[in-house]
Symmetry: none
Subunit: 202 residues, 4 copies
């Protein structure tokens, strides 16, 4: 940890805090403290709070895009079903590695439009990329359109991790996303994907 350079140490501290309590709930002092750095250094390395936040977002997005690319690259000729399974798996794997990601996105989405541009650019792109998988077997418009299905699937995947602390009795920051819970959710998503793909065929 302490072998990282200061700039990324700050970035990681910010990532954790923003993910835990949202943009408005974090102060630059909090971030400096968590990174074990001087407050002024945070500004030296990252200009201002909004910029720091954008870098955190972009870091996530870049990592996620890579994960998605990798998931889609292999066996490019697979069918829709297999592709969707791999995308779903990649998503779950990503959350396993970055448990604060879904909370951060949801919080950014619901905290006023301040960072919509970054979200629109990256998240929108990601959604549209994966949407492409469905275009072959989906109608262009209406309730079975690809965008509806993608929102349903990503919602189903991410919401699990934001609703969890309320549904279960435990708000245990680290334990809330256990290996077994993730595995079961992965299977559930596969099942839903299969239902939808089969449903589209009729």
């Amino acid at each position: 940890m302490s072998e990282l350079d200061t700039s990324t140490r700050i970035l990681e501290a910010a990532q954790e805090l923003f993910g835990d309590v949202g943009y408005d709930g974090v102060s630059m002092r909090d971030i400096a403290d968590r990174a074990d750095a001087n407050k002024a250094l945070v500004f030296y390395h990252h200009d201002n709070k909004a910029e720091l936040f954008r870098r955190v977002l972009n870091r996530f997005f870049e990592a996620q895009r890579q994960a998605m690319d990798e998931a889609l690259r292999q066996d490019a000729e697979d069918g829709v079903r297999a592709k969707l399974h791999r995308v779903g798996d990649a998503y779950i794997d990503f959350i396993h590695e970055h448990p604060r990601y879904p909370r951060l996105i949801q919080n950014t989405l619901t905290s006023g439009g301040e960072h919509f541009d970054v979200l629109r650019e990256h998240l929108g792109g990601l959604l549209r990329t994966t949407e492409g998988i469905l275009t072959d077997i989906c109608p262009e418009e209406g309730p079975k359109a690809a965008r509806h299905i993608m929102v349903t699937l990503t919602g189903a995947a991410s919401n699990y991790f934001t609703y969890a602390p309320v549904v279960e009795g435990n708000w245990d920051k680290d334990g809330m996303i256990s290996e077994e819970a993730l595995e079961e959710r992965r299977e559930h998503l596969h099942w839903v994907v299969d239902l939808i793909v089969d449903g589209l065929k009729d």
Copy 2:
């Protein structure tokens, strides 16, 4: 609007602002200004920010519980499929009347645990109530358990309204969701419900 008494005028101003920019993004001054009231008066009527926020949440929850109760009361002997359709419709109708509701919930869920108790009491209750609908046709454990399905369905329903502004322009100038978008989403949910109910029968 101006015919309401001050206390509720403040409550509604708070509701709108909290729903738009989240708990931490709103200041008591903002609320007072929007309610066209003196700042101290906000405290006179609602003690403190957290209490005001709780009242906003409880207002929503009470309304939602009523809507759900009504949806479930009629034709109690209906099958699971019809019940789920009615619950989904009630949810969509509720959002039509209270467009800021899903954003507010998601924001509360992802802004640090400060108001989890209220969420747990009401939202958790709501989830468990509707979960009951599925118990007859669901296994108790595993990836097809009722709780997985409920999280998927509520996620599919609510996430649409938080992702929408990023995916494309489904919101009009006032942040309201268009009638047609709501109607289409309602049909999509019906379709997904049907897929799942049929899928469980196999």
Copy 3:
């Protein structure tokens, strides 16, 4: 208690609170709450905070002047020693009845000059009256002058009740001035008075 009229109920509430935490430590709301009255009523009956405080002070001073007058009236031909004993006893008795008095005076004395006028008029008068007892056997000036002795005696008497919570381990609002403690302090003061009177004769 509830048979008193509102105005005096407020006065007594104010007396207790001012005595416990000082002028600046009390809010009009505190007083209204303690008197179980509406806040506006406090202003209706007592104009403003400073005026209310002055009435509390004057109430104490009137009571104390009466006690002193009574103490000095009986056996007016007694010697200095007997008179001082009676004054000391009256002081102790007064504190027994009004345990918040010494704290209130000390606090007023040390909270900025805002109410010095009332203090100067009444307390100064009281000191000078009792000073008169000593004039016969005291030099007019120097370290044995009557004013030095009076300040020493009143200091010895009142300081006991303000230092007590620090010296002893107990800050028990009601029990801090127990019957026995008062009795012992009374004897101590008699002894000191005797020492001084005898000392002046040499």
Copy 4:
């Protein structure tokens, strides 16, 4: 004055103001203004009002403890009388240097129990230390016990400086006590000490 660093400049401003109008009578704004510093800077250097006040108290107490230690160290084999004279002199000297000290203590004592812990630790220790001087010639209990005498002597010493402004004009424009008044009070205390020490021998 302006050559001191900001932190101590604030401390001294606070000392003066707290001593003049008491804890509740001073605002952080007042302190910042008097120290010619930015309001936020007061918090940067001293965390919060209570902490700042504690530092002021501790500063006084440390200085006083030093003064007392010095007074007691020299000629340790002296008799009780000489020791008490030296303690009394040290006390008077200390007030000469720190004229706001007695007012501050009395105010803290009578402003609600918020800072009793600091008082108990230091002032209580001081009282008990000096109490030790008297134990040899005092009974353990009753009206001539050491603690009664110490409270009388400290009361006699300190009360003079809080009562003075009411009794007559012993304070100059800046609220300082005149040299001559201090000197006369010193002699008075010596006289009282002698009376008590002699009185204990009988």
